[in-house]
Amino acid sequence: MKKTLTILKHEFKQTLKRKSFIIMTLAVPLLLVLGYGIYQGVQHWYQPGEPEEIKIGYVDEAGGFDQYTSQLGITFIPYPSEEEAKDALLAKEVEEYFVIPTDYLSSGFITRYTLERERKVPAETWQGIEGFLLSNLLAGEVSSPEILDRAKTPMLMTSFQLDESGEIAPSQDEFTRYFLPIIFALLFVFALFFSSGFLLQSVTEEKENRVIEIILSSVSSRQLLAGKVLGLGAAGLLQIAVWLTAIRVFAEVASLNIPALSDFSISSSLLIWAVVYFILGYLLFAALYAGIGSLGSTAREGQSWSGIIVMPAILPMVLMSFIINNPESGLSTALTLFPLTAPITAMMRLPSDAVSAWEIAASLLILAGSVVLTMWAAAKVFRVFLLMYGKRPALREIVRYVREA
């Protein structure tokens, strides 16, 4: 037990010193800060100060459009002819001008001219011109200015989802429904594969360096496996903790300036599930990777073998948009129950509240069972193959050793 602790500490320290670990751990906070900086920069660049008064010229060929010439910060300046309006535009007296033709009432067509290159008409201009036309059209018909205002903005809508008992279901904005599962799943996958990848590396390195036999003369293969798995798992948890803390702090700070983030929150229950799934998921992959790492003679060989495990594990990533959009489908449930895909799928589905309690319980139970079984087999494979070099063993041979060892 004492020696397991010594190995744990050693592996933890060595992982923390790895360049790739440091870079990955700091990458998330750095990206957040960078993203925030860019957002702020763009905001600043786009809004240098108070919006200026915009002047728009118009030529009223239809007649009757001479009131309400001030709309939403836009001043409308009438010109008697199109030539004069064009001259005013070229002289930069107005930003743009439009022509209301004689058949406007029957056709609705107006023509707009501007010097700017634009993809579509800016919303402010569109609303301003619309308001100007509407106000003038209704000027003679409607006497109440309130009705006039309402006609310009007929509704401001809020909608609610009711559950079976008629209560208002908690609202789920886009962010919680889509972005949170994606961010969670991605971070989760990174942390999971990085720490189990480090484990694979640490096993194969010791084998390749030929340190392994010296170590095995001091500790049992079981102690070695336990120490390594726990040490690297601790490093992985630390990484996740750094990321989540960074995200939380960032959300606090950024929500002051970015309105979209103001109601951002990660519930504590979600965090607890994340930690539970991470630990179980990590243990499963760690055991598999440790077993695989002990099979090959070199680190390269170990890496190529690990692909076999990674394939099913990234399946939820491939199906991500399907799972997030259909969290209640049969496929999503199946992937939550299958141990190799369970941790990542669960992370995608849990934020949506679509997972029932029995599903979580069953998935955790299956996962925990698989962890125990895999650890047991890995310890045996570990013991037999750590000191074997040369030819890669055939699958049949491995199975036989696991049974006999």
Binding site: K2, T6, E206, V211, E213, I214, S217, V219, L387
Partner: protein, 297 residues
Amino acid sequence: MNVIEASHITKSFKGARAVDDISFSVGQGEIFGMVGPNGAGKTTTIRMLMDIIKPDSGKISILGEAVKEETKNRIGYLPEERGLYRKITVTESLTYLAALKNFKGGPARDRATKLLERVDMLQHKDKKIEELSRGMGQIIQFIATILHDPDLIVLDEPFAGLDPVNTELLKQLILELKGQGKSIILSTHMMNQVEELCDRFLMINKGQAVLYGSLAEIKSRFRNNSIFLECNRLPEELPGVIGSKNHGKYVELFLDGKTSPSEILAALVNGGISVDRFEVSTPSLNEIFIQVVKEGQ
């Protein structure tokens, strides 16, 4: 009390017997040789002693008991397939490996410094292993083996790949350990190293023990009763000599088995012959090995 007692240990891999019914014991404070050609079963035997693999049958007791974790802390093992962490420093490697033997903290660091000083490598203590030469790395591995001050030291082909200077240094270190009362097992395929260093030895071939006992006793057992003689002239007749063979510079005299070499020497000196070289011929371990293997077939 013997440091190691191994009785009738056997181990098979895929049906082939790597170690076949081997028994031996190693006494306190002796250098015990384990010799045999490559693939004879030396490393497998040692791995069983170290509890890295389990024997199919037979019993092993080390330092008076079956191997358990506390026993491992009192053994230093330098495997044949050896290496060190390439990316961490000499001191880090040494203290980690010692910590795995439950020897840690200040005492471990102090002893590491002392041992590095002894081999004149203290200036390399903060270098990474990959920056050191291969020979230096081997010496560091040896220090890692003895850092925790073990009572039993097992060295599997310790001289492999070492240059003459480092070989000499390592021999000195081994003899120093013997002087401190440590028991040492030296496994090698180089018979001359056993002749030079070991008190007793076990010779293994194809998994079986072919010779076992003290070096002096076995050598005298295999003495072929002849004398190498270099002198100014040979007497016409020497009592007790039944034949001779001329090797050019010297002659080999074959004795009758009843006359002792000193009687021959006395006869020569009394005969007024000036003797330049007089040597009782003992076969080298190499020759003994070849002879034993031939007889066994």
